[in-house]
Point group: none
């Protein structure tokens, strides 16, 4: 547990003191010499720790004045929030349905061909390959919307699906057994896109997520069920009605 570098240990201790409120936000913390004496290290080490802390945005160093605790703790921009699989799917249903409607109007023939190929790949026995094709399918539609803000948003939502352990687990338990229905739904979405029909595309996408949430609500393991038990009643009603066909 011991940090290899001394300043790492010092930086962690200072960071803890800030979190504990010993060094309140916005205040000036003791000078290098006092901190050096308190931690039993040299001034250089203190400054190295402060540099590392500043790189994270936790403190601000003002030459000749002192170092100050940042007002608001840095909300790491790349940090993903702790969302549940249900929240994520609700958001995806909202956003990707509209993205599909947008894409239906302007999607190119090349993109349509790519999507058809991806739907074929989803029937592959390999589960990873199917998930990969799923990812590519949704991202292709997002790109076809022609809106980079939407693309970035859907990319971030997909990162939540893949990088948040709980969400990944929930999705994994649902997807594996519904391979054929998933492929059929994607084909329906693709058909609507081929027809350049925005409303059909939106509804097909909503239906896709509707089934996904239904499957999640049914298939989620006991502990996950208990975890959302207090929210289950209103959640079920709410998510289903929201994701349902217009």
């Amino acid at each position: 547990m011991s940090e290899k570098r001394l300043f790492h240990s010092v930086a962690e201790q200072i960071s803890d003191l800030i979190d504990e409120g010993v060094f309140p936000l916005g205040t000036r913390l003791p000078g290098e010499r006092e901190l050096a004496e308190r931690f039993g290290v040299s001034r250089v080490t203190i400054r190295e720790a402060e540099i590392a802390l500043q790189a994270v945005g936790k403190i601000q160093i003002k030459t000749g004045s002192g170092v100050y605790v940042s007002e608001e703790l840095p909300k790491d921009p790349g940090q993903l929030p702790d969302v549940s699989a249900f929240e994520l799917t609700e958001a995806r249903s909202m956003i990707e349905s509209e993205a599909a409607a947008l894409a239906a109007k302007v999607i190119s023939d090349e993109a349509l061909d790519d999507l058809q190929e991806l739907v074929s790949q989803m029937s592959a026995a390999n589960d990873d390959a199917a998930t990969s094709a799923d990812h590519a399918f949704h991202m292709t539609i997002a790109k076809a919307s022609g809106n980079k803000a939407i693309v970035h948003t859907i990319e971030t939502l997909w990162r939540m699906r893949e990088e948040l352990p709980k969400v990944k687990k929930t999705y994994g338990s649902v997807c594996e057994e519904d391979a054929e229905s998933r492929m059929r739904e994607h084909q329906l979405i693709l058909d609507a896109l081929k027809a350049h029909n925005p409303d059909d595309a939106r509804n097909a996408m909503r239906a896709h997520f509707f089934r996904l949430i239904s499957a999640m609500l049914d298939a989620t393991e006991q502990e996950a069920l208990r975890e959302v038990q207090q929210r289950a009643s209103e959640s079920r009603e709410r998510f289903l009605t929201n994701a349902n066909l217009g």
Copy 2:
């Protein structure tokens, strides 16, 4: 242009050398003493620069062995894409309208009071304060949706509005002259939320962005107009129809 801290300058130079390929990826770069001599600074400064570079993930320091250039350059997940103000507003219209519809069903009285207070603040002469209230207004609605994925998404979209120079400029040129209409639109949104009417809330939010896009299309300066001229015809038709009332 000179960095306040010496190690900042050194870190930037080293970073540039890495990007230029002088220090190829994965290789070990010269020792502290040699770098110190080459840049004309002390070893401490070199170490501080390396610590800062390591905090960004660009290099890796191995005690007793040397410092090595990281294999793959870190793809900053918090990096914002280069979106236009029109794309951003289209995405916001899509997402925030649905968020408002969600919020209308479950928003609390406390949140409604906060929103009313924020609408009042928008009439303040101070333009910064009005923008700040605008931000708080939209984020309060996002939070009222009860979906952390949606909150995160709208937060990110707002970051684009404030951190992308072009977008910030376009928004700034539109907002300043439409203070009263902006306040009126926000009041309409709030009224729909108070009535707990999802459809009205969605339509009021869409109308808000509809006017915003209209104002942007009209008020954008000559050069910006020329910049999007080739896309203007289809853009105008497309954005207006998409953002228009259902």
